[in-house]
């Protein structure tokens, strides 16, 4: 345990992400101002869902992909996850009645998808015999992509953070979600979010010239 702000206890269901995020979004988060999609709460089953999806992809495609990539660090997985997120959103558009914003709803679905992919990845590492070769090659490819395409040094350092710190930093600083929204999405307390942000900032400060932690 590092000195300073202690790591607070986490909700027991944190690993499974916020309940309900699959289809209906997080509950209880503050309503944000993506007013262009407010009507999603009221659409019927006969709405032109394809047109709505096109609008959603236009407005939030980059957010969803960026979040997926930031958490997986794999271009192909980010592609796959973004596809699955919008397909899931498309199938559940008429169920969207959440108090959260559409963006938060989509990011919550994305997070669940990322967790599923991480579990798949864990399964492959543990169960499949050729896991080490595959993992080593993909890690190298990840580093190459990040090294050559990251927009700045701060992003490089953030992408090297352990998973749980990276997640809160990106939701907070890039997607600009409130502490409350992040807490709802992650299924943890606001105190835990603040604690993780603090530790994340400390690790970023320590990095200075580089050197990354293992993905946690």
């Amino acid at each position: 345990m590092e000195a300073g702000v202690p790591e607070t206890a986490e909700a027991p269901h944190e690993a499974a992400a916020a309940p309900g995020a699959d289809c209906v979004g997080t509950r209880g988060g503050e309503v944000r101002s993506d007013t262009g999609f407010e009507y999603l709460r009221y659409i019927g089953e006969h709405a032109d869902r394809k047109a709505l999806l096109t609008e959603l992809m236009h407005a939030y495609g980059k957010d969803v992909w960026n979040f997926a990539f930031s958490m997986t660090k794999k271009w192909d997985q980010a592609d796959d996850i973004a596809q699955e997120v919008f397909l899931k959103a498309y199938r559940n558009l008429h169920t969207f009645r959440s108090q959260s914003s559409v963006k938060t709803w989509l990011l919550a679905i994305t997070r669940n998808m990322v967790l599923d992919y991480r579990k798949q990845s864990f399964f492959r590492r543990v169960v499949l015999v050729d896991a080490f070769r595959e993992d080593g090659a993909s890690s190298s490819a990840e580093r190459e992509v990040i090294e050559s395409l990251a927009v700045n040094e701060m992003w490089k350092k953030v992408l090297e953070l352990p998973y749980k710190y990276r997640e809160v930093v990106i939701l907070y600083a890039h997607h600009q979600l409130s502490m409350k929204e992040i807490a709802e999405m992650l299924g943890v307390s606001e105190g835990t979010v603040k604690s993780r942000l603090f530790h994340a900032r400390r690790k970023l400060a320590e990095k200075g010239g580089g050197g990354g932690d293992a993905d946690g």
Partner: protein, 399 residues
């Protein structure tokens, strides 16, 4: 330590200089809108969490199949019912539905003979299923294509002794093979005409026509091929063909002005399969840069020409499975794939967007290439296709 402001400023843009969510990805999502819900992200999780349970389930399934020969058919029927608009069932039932859902493929093939000889056509009807023995459902000569609510026949007829070969279409579901007699002008003035079928999809058939020794490609409406072909209009190059245009999304489709307005567009494009897609290659003069791009890279057919024109596999995965692969097709619901080499065509089941099991390996005749890949995935159509096409081939065999 970085402050909040510093973090937000430095991270305000996306992580990478290049945007990952681009037009290509948007199109892939739109192409998949009609798929059923994907269980992909969850399957392995469940496997990891309940490996023992899975083993027990597999053993039980094997036992059931052995004890009950109708199990697969009954299970499929049940899964088809689930795949409709009914209320959500249990997660286990949904998993079963996804794994049991079938696709059926009508694959048209053409084999060109030596120069001057007629091409040969055949159609394979391949249905997915749990057992390899289910996969090749039917096979017959000529091309059978779905159009409207019926199946249509396509073939090329030779008019002796003129050396004229013309493509024709007929509604196979509603009658026998009756090709309209083509009017034959004075034999002394007839130039050699040779047609080959290059592509069939939706209501359009691309043909290659050799006239005066020169091959040109034409996109035809099925109604024109089913009508009396007028040899004079063909010889004069004024037979109606389908005008095409480059759409806003960069694909080639039927021009919005109409389908059979005249000879416009004839010979301006060449059509071929490339990298598992139906492509049009521009031949018309125009902007040199645009012309070069169209000619070299080709532009994919859009949905006005063919309902499904996407490949759900990477070529690396395809070549890992079949190093000599030259073409491939995958089902719209990504549960079935066919990989062609020069010598054979290998069918696979797919799982989680990847090749899963090799199910069927058929020999190809020398030089055989794909000219049609039409899919049915809706449960209402899968069994109907198998039944109706098998019946058509059976009748053809009796003729």
């Amino acid at each position: 330590m970085p402050t909040d402001d510093e973090l937000r400023r430095e991270l305000s843009r996306g992580p990478l200089k290049k945007h990952g969510f681009d037009e290509r990805l948007r199109r892939r999502i739109e192409e998949r809108l009609d798929e059923g819900p994907s269980r992909r992200p969850f399957r392995l999780h469940r496997l990891a969490g309940a490996g023992l349970t899975l083993c027990v389930m597999i053993a039980a399934a094997v036992l059931l199949v052995r004890l009950h020969p109708m199990q697969t058919e009954e299970a499929r029927t049940a899964a088809d019912a689930v795949a409709g608009q009914g209320p959500a069932n249990t997660a286990a039932a949904e998993d079963e539905e996804v794994s049991m859902r079938r696709a059926v493929l009508l694959l048209g093939l053409r084999q060109d003979g030596a120069d001057g000889e007629a091409s040969a056509y055949r159609t394979l009807l391949v249905a997915g299923g749990p057992s390899p023995s289910d996969w090749l459902a039917a096979e017959g000569t000529g091309i059978i294509m779905p159009h409207g609510t019926d199946f249509w026949g396509l073939d090329v007829w030779e008019y002796e002794p003129l050396g004229v070969r013309l493509a024709g279409a007929w509604n196979a579901s509603r009658g026998g093979k009756v090709l309209p007699a083509s009017p034959i002008p004075d034999s002394d003035s007839v130039a050699s005409v040779d047609e080959r079928i290059l592509f069939a999809g939706n209501r359009y058939i691309a043909i290659a026509r050799r006239l005066n020794g020169e091959w040109k490609h034409h996109m035809m409406d099925i109604a024109v091929l089913a009508d009396q072909r007028n040899l004079i209009t063909i010889l004069e190059g004024v037979e109606q063909s389908v005008p095409l245009e480059v759409k806003a999304d960069g694909r080639v489709g039927v021009a919005s002005g109409g389908g059979t307005a005249g000879p416009s567009g004839a010979g301006e494009w060449a059509f071929a399969r490339k990298s598992g897609l139906w492509m049009a290659f521009g031949l018309a003069a125009g902007d040199p840069a645009e012309y070069a791009y169209r000619r070299q890279a080709g532009l994919a057919f859009d949905s006005s020409l063919v309902a499904h024109n996407a490949l759900a596999l990477d070529w690396k995965d395809i070549r890992d499975a079949q190093p000599a692969a030259v073409d491939a097709v995958t089902s719209p619901i990504r549960n079935m794939a066919a990989i062609l080499t020069d010598k054979n065509i290998v069918f696979y089941s797919m799982r989680s967007g990847k090749l899963d099991r090799e199910m069927l390996d058929l020999a190809l005749r020398p030089g055989e290439t794909v000219i049609m890949a039409e899919w049915a995935t809706h449960p209402d159509y899968v069994d109907a296709w198998i039944e109706r096409v098998s019946e058509l081939f059976r009748k053809t065999g009796e003729d």
